[in-house]
């Protein structure tokens, strides 16, 4: 029973990381109908930037903030330079372009930062928490991780719902034509969407790197699982991204704990295929299909 609790709680933490990546993918998907395969790579790069800042300033929080800002910048820059020209072209092109971006970033990381595994500090203690002598399976840092992702998600949700900027983004995502005819600069909105996605990715990067170590390919697996979470929840649905992330995180943790930790990605594959077979648009797909 204690084991179950531990697996569940630590699963929640992983789930929040996947949710962060899933959210960033959903954000970009809703705005541009593209899947950003470079999202993991971008998160890895911003984490490298953070570690350099931390190394030189001896301040974790300076690195944290810089990583988030770098995420905004990297996201916006990618959209402006590489993605904008693919608008209106076949899907395959943008898939290949984002893959190209991914390996370009990974190559550059290898060149400038080296290939060795680097350790990344955690904001808070990583010793397990106990309640009345029972270990919970999560640490203070884990709680911070979950809380940080949750807070960011809620802030973003509130922004979308209640601000004009958020309305612009939603209008542009639902119907770009009407948005443009109403004077919304859709191109600018897309760039902001990519920037926010970059921020989410950067957040996921600094939160997960203490456990995975940092190296050019460190975010590959996380990205893929984040993608799986996004698909499970429905690429159009931010709620779906969070729920999908949690379900996947908890579920895979049970697999790792009770069965075989090397089988998690295969189980994830099975879940992905199952969901795509039964509900190709995800669990939270709206009944009304978007016109494309």
């Amino acid at each position: 029973m204690v084991e179950f609790l531990q697996f569940t709680l630590s699963g929640v933490v992983f789930g929040m990381i996947y949710a962060a990546i899933a959210l960033s993918l959903v954000l970009i998907w809703r705005g541009t109908r593209l899947l950003n395969f470079a999202q993991g790579g971008m998160a890895m790069l911003t984490t490298y930037v953070a570690i350099e800042v931390i190394y030189h300033t001896h301040s974790y929080w300076a690195g944290f903030v810089v990583a988030l800002v770098a995420g905004l910048v990297l996201g916006a820059a990618s959209e402006l330079t590489v993605i904008r020209p693919t608008a209106g072209r076949p899907e395959l092109n943008s898939v290949i372009v984002t893959i190209g971006l991914l390996i370009l970033i990974e190559g550059l990381a290898g060149i400038f930062f080296g290939a060795q595994y680097r350790s990344f500090p955690a904001a808070f203690s990583v010793t397990g928490l106990k309640v009345g002598g029972t270990p919970l399976g999560v640490s203070r840092f884990d709680v911070f991780t979950a809380a940080a992702v949750l807070a960011t998600t809620l802030i973003l949700a509130a922004t979308f719902r209640y601000t004009s900027a958020g309305l612009r983004m939603r209008a542009a995502a639902f119907n770009a034509t009407i948005a443009r005819l109403s004077g919304i600069r859709v191109a600018r909105v897309l760039t902001v969407g990519w920037a926010l996605a970059g921020l989410l990715g950067a957040l996921a990067g600094v939160l997960v790197s203490p456990s995975t170590f940092l190296y050019p390919n460190s975010m590959d697996a996380i990205f893929v699982l984040g993608f799986t979470a996004a698909v499970i929840g429905g690429l159009d649905s931010p709620t779906g991204a969070v729920v999908g992330g949690l379900l996947l995180g908890i579920g895979l943790n049970y697999v790792a704990g009770y069965w075989n930790s090397n089988l998690t990605s295969l189980v994830a594959l099975g879940i992905l295929v199952a969901v795509l077979m039964i509900r190709p648009n995800g669990l939270f797909a709206s009944a009304r299909m978007r016109r494309v």
Binding site: L167, R170, I178, R180, L181, G183
Partner: protein, 252 residues
């Protein structure tokens, strides 16, 4: 016509609020507009008529910036706005209500209206008042302001769409088949509304309509397109009484 001359004759109220000159536009290899010249007089209703494929929708799109013209000019009170982006053209004063799509169903009525005000250039404090004005004009919308636009009926959606376009405070309003899919009684209400917008508010209206009879009934001036060219341009009464023209190009 020079800018000064246009401005001068604008003062007379007979001038063109919107003048399209020699417009050539199309999609890919297809040329949908082949040198179209249309003049929409200020505060009047100009009907654009013709069969399917004649180029009517393309004309509106080229004016509002959704399609970039290959040649020609689009003069809004003397300034050429051809080729500018839709966002800029809206701010210049041309509002386009496209065919078939108008409301964003995933947003509430109020949010749809707020979208219409995205190009608002007036004082911020005046925005709320402007919205209230539209709610006054369209009572059913006021009753449903917090509801999703997907719950509106066809006629209510058309009202919402026009209200939103009006909130952009345009000088010229382009309407593409506003009566499409509406019951006859609702269609009459919409046509009524169009007339009031022109007479009471001085809006210049360009109306594309498949239902030529209804359009000519309210229009001041009419233009008939066929295969991307203007084949007739006259005041509405003349067009309506030209039986041969009506049979050939308009189907009645």
């Amino acid at each position: 016509m020079s800018a000064e001359a246009t401005a001068a004759s604008a003062a007379n109220g007979h001038a063109a609020a919107l003048a399209v000159e020699g417009l050539v536009a199309g999609y890919g290899g297809v040329t949908a507009l082949d040198g179209v010249t249309v003049t929409a007089h200020a505060s009047g209703i100009t009907a654009v008529l013709g069969a399917n494929g004649a180029g009517k929708t393309t004309l509106l799109r080229a004016v509002s910036g959704m399609v970039k013209p290959r040649r020609g000019r689009v003069l809004l009170a003397g300034h050429d706005v051809a080729g500018q982006s839709p966002e800029r053209i809206v701010r210049a004063g041309i509002a386009h209500v496209p065919e078939g799509q108008g409301v964003i169903p995933e947003l509430t009525v109020e949010e749809n209206l707020r979208v219409g005000m995205m190009s608002w250039r007036g004082k911020q404090s005046a925005r709320a008042a402007a919205m209230e004005e539209e709610y006054e004009r369209f009572k059913p919308l006021a009753e449903r302001r917090r509801k999703l636009a997907s719950t509106l009926s066809g006629g209510e959606r058309q009202m919402l769409v026009i209200a939103r376009a009006l909130l952009a405070r345009p000088r010229v309003l382009l309407l593409d088949e506003p009566s499409l899919g509406l019951a006859p009684r609702v269609m009459a209400q919409v046509m009524d509304l169009v007339v009031r917008l022109s007479r009471e508010h001085g809006l210049t209206i360009v109306l594309v309509e498949q239902n030529a009879r209804a359009a000519l009934a309210i229009a001041d001036h009419g233009v008939v397109l066929n295969l991307g060219r203007v084949v007739a341009s006259a005041d509405a009464a003349t067009l309506a009484s030209d039986v041969a023209l009506r049979h050939h190009y308009l189907g009645f």
